[in-house]
């Protein structure tokens, strides 16, 4: 049984997060350097805007906000799973090489598989998923040891190695491509949220709608796995199967997010950690909090990056790294 007081606390935190996200979204709508004034936002949202106002809000800013939120949520969920699986707070899809696997596949797909422009974006998450899955499997295999099972810390380290090598592979790909395509890939690498209209929302939404509930449903498995292999076996769990299932879910979440937003690390690291420190380590409690925190963090990073360094803007991925890396270092030193 979970203490009712804690459940109440969780509800309160979730409510606060919802409000924070709402406020941040409004801020994002308002402070972007455009001609819209604050007073107009509410009427426009209720359908009383002019054509131009509607266009700016509904076709440009709103889809971007939604994509950012969804991607942040997916990354946070992926990070939570990876942290439970590896029993290590330092796991993050960006750090352990899943992102670069996805990135490599996206670049490959973009350069060598000409698909119709309209359908392209729907294939993108799939390509990213394939690349990320292959990378994850390789990392898993290399960190698996017959005698000791698989060692979490080695998994992270091997991930760092893969991520470095794959960035190299990416450079090879880029160097043989033509200039306009290179532009796209380097924007992608920087984590510039580039897919910003409703079709991208549609491309990523099915993944999120299927996978996020699945993660929440798996909360108990995650709890048990986090306790250790002996406990899990004792409770009759097929560890290997469950680990692989969860790994696939995490990879799919991270890849779908990253395919639309570009290489973004550290969200999957920070969000679960913040959530755990707010409400404790039980997955049922912290997962929803982590997911919302992830969405909010990425939205915040994008809002700051887009507006403070206007007009070019700083890619959200860069903003997140600038905030996230010191956080990571802090985590290593206190761990």
């Amino acid at each position: 049984m979970i203490d009712p007081a804690i459940i109440k606390k969780q509800r309160l935190i979730i409510l606060t997060l919802f409000l924070t996200i709402l406020i941040t979204s409004l801020l994002n709508l308002i402070i972007a350097n455009s001609t819209l004034s604050i007073k107009r936002i509410i009427p426009i949202l209720f359908g009383q805007g002019t054509f131009k106002e509607n266009f700016v809000i509904f076709s440009i800013r709103l889809p971007r906000i939604i994509i950012t939120l969804l991607a942040g949520m997916a990354l946070a969920a992926a990070g939570s799973i990876l942290q439970s699986l590896t029993r290590n707070d330092l796991a993050d899809p960006g750090i352990i090489g899943i992102n670069s696997g996805a990135g490599f596949a996206v670049a490959l797909f973009f350069l060598y598989f000409p698909v119709q422009a309209g359908k392209f974006i729907y294939f993108l998450p799939l390509a990213a998923f394939t690349g990320a899955l292959v990378t994850a499997i390789l990392i898993y295999l290399f960190s698996y040891n017959k005698n000791n099972g698989f060692q979490a810390i080695k998994l992270i380290l091997i991930g760092v190695g893969f991520s470095t090598a794959l960035s190299g592979a990416m450079i090879v790909l880029i160097s043989s491509a033509d200039k306009t395509k290179v532009e796209f890939i380097s924007r992608w690498l920087a984590g510039d949220i580039w897919g910003t209209d409703w079709s991208f929302v549609l491309a990523i939404l099915p993944w999120i709608l299927v996978l996020l509930p699945l993660v929440l449903y798996k909360s108990n498995s995650l709890n048990i796995l986090a306790l250790g292999n002996e406990v899990a076996v004792g409770l009759g769990m097929n560890i290997k199967k469950e680990q692989i299932n969860l790994l696939i879910i995490a990879v799919a979440l991270a890849a779908s997010a990253v395919s639309i937003t570009g290489g973004i690390a550290f969200i999957g690291l920070m969000a679960p950690h913040i959530a755990k420190s707010l409400i404790g380590k039980r997955n049922q409690l912290y997962l929803p909090v982590a997911i919302l925190t992830g969405g909010w963090l990425l939205l915040l990073a994008d809002t700051i990056g887009k507006n403070i360094f206007a007009p070019q803007g700083i890619a959200a991925g860069i903003m997140v790294a600038i905030i996230g890396a010191p956080y990571f270092i802090y985590l290593i030193t206190v761990n």
Binding site: V160, T164, A165, A169, I171, S176, I322, I329
Partner: protein, 334 residues
């Protein structure tokens, strides 16, 4: 020092390495986008004859090959020092934040002084490498319980990510992405005699320091207590070694950009043949680093000729298997 009969004696290894170096150098000059004959290669190397092909060799390929020799030697020696000093088998200038730091300061310099000369960029690399290394080692030192080798690598990875992110932000903001990328991923493209005149003395200075301190490094690599027990001034030695690492890496990065894994794998390779005494490991690492860099650069020029495949990327790819082997072999470190 214990004699180990299994290991081939040092002088043999040295001769073999020198031979390989000569062959690689010749190959690097002989092959490339423009076809030349063996005779012309020889003429170019002996500076006799002055037809167009020979000029190409003398002005483009030979300086580039020489640069490869020095850069490879510098990075391998820096890696060897770092591994000995930190007793961390995974130490590498690229993984420990030095290259990322150098990168950031190159970007800053290019943003503030767009017309900076070569010497300025080298200085910027030095400062950046020192700051990157300082951050990583500082974080490691901050933790009182001591850091496992693995955690330093993670800290290095985080610091690098951070520094690269700032670099990207600066390059986008000041619209110097292209220049910065030319530096960081450019490899040895366009290295000429004028740059060599600056770089070679610096690297020779660094290498000489590395060779001179090799004995102390061996003792340090065993155990700090032993070093103190043997009357070494550990702190002073460490500072000197640190400076040498900065000099070697800074100079190498200024020439070639972000190379990872080279400083990691070469000393490992050498140690499997030559043992753990750095008086032997150091010169052999430098030589092997040179050979490796020459061949990697040759590959980068010929793989997709006449276009260049960045050598930075080739080495990153070649390095991964090594990295995996080392991580898997050294289980006791985790």
């Amino acid at each position: 020092m214990q004699k180990n009969n299994k290991r081939i004696s040092f002088s043999y290894l040295l001769i073999i390495a020198l031979l390989f170096l000569l062959i690689s150098f010749f190959l690097a000059v002989r092959f490339g986008a423009a076809e030349v004959s063996f005779k012309q290669t020889w003429q170019a190397l002996s500076f006799s004859g002055n037809i167009e092909e020979i000029i190409i060799l003398q002005e483009i390929r030979i300086p580039r090959a020489i640069a490869a020799i020095f850069v490879g030697a510098a990075l391998a020696a820096a890696g060897a020092i770092m591994q000995g000093m930190t007793r961390n088998p995974l130490a590498d200038p690229g993984l420990f934040g030095l290259t990322a730091g150098a990168n950031l300061f190159l970007a800053i310099t290019l943003a503030i002084f767009p017309a900076i000369d070569y010497l300025g960029t080298i200085l910027a690399s030095f400062i950046g490498a020192a700051i990157g290394a300082g951050l990583v080692f500082g974080i490691a030192a901050f933790n009182q319980k001591g850091f496992s080798p693995l955690k330093i690598v993670l800290a290095g990875s985080a610091v690098s990510t951070f520094l690269y992110a700032v670099t990207r932000a600066i390059s986008i903001y000041f619209k110097i992405s292209k220049n910065v990328t030319m530096w960081t991923a450019g490899g040895l493209v366009g290295v000429g005699w004028s740059q060599l005149k600056l770089i070679i003395p610096i690297i020779i200075f660094g290498l000489a320091g590395a060779f001179l301190l090799a004995r102390q490094l061996t003792i340090l690599s065993l155990k700090e207590e032993i070093a103190i027990g043997l009357g070494q001034k550990v702190f002073r030695t460490k500072i000197m070694l640190f400076l040498i690492i900065i000099i070697l890496t800074g100079a190498a990065v200024a020439v070639v950009g972000n190379i990872v894994f080279l400083g990691l794998m070469i000393p490992h390779l050498v140690r499997t043949f030559a043992g753990r005494d750095y008086r032997f490991v150091m010169p052999l690492s430098a030589l092997t680093g040179s050979i490796f860099m020459l061949l990697a650069d040759l590959l980068s020029r010929t793989l997709n000729a006449p276009y260049e495949t960045p050598v930075v990327a080739i080495i990153a790819l070649l390095g991964l298997p090594f990295f995996l082997i080392i991580v898997n072999r050294r289980r006791r470190y985790f």
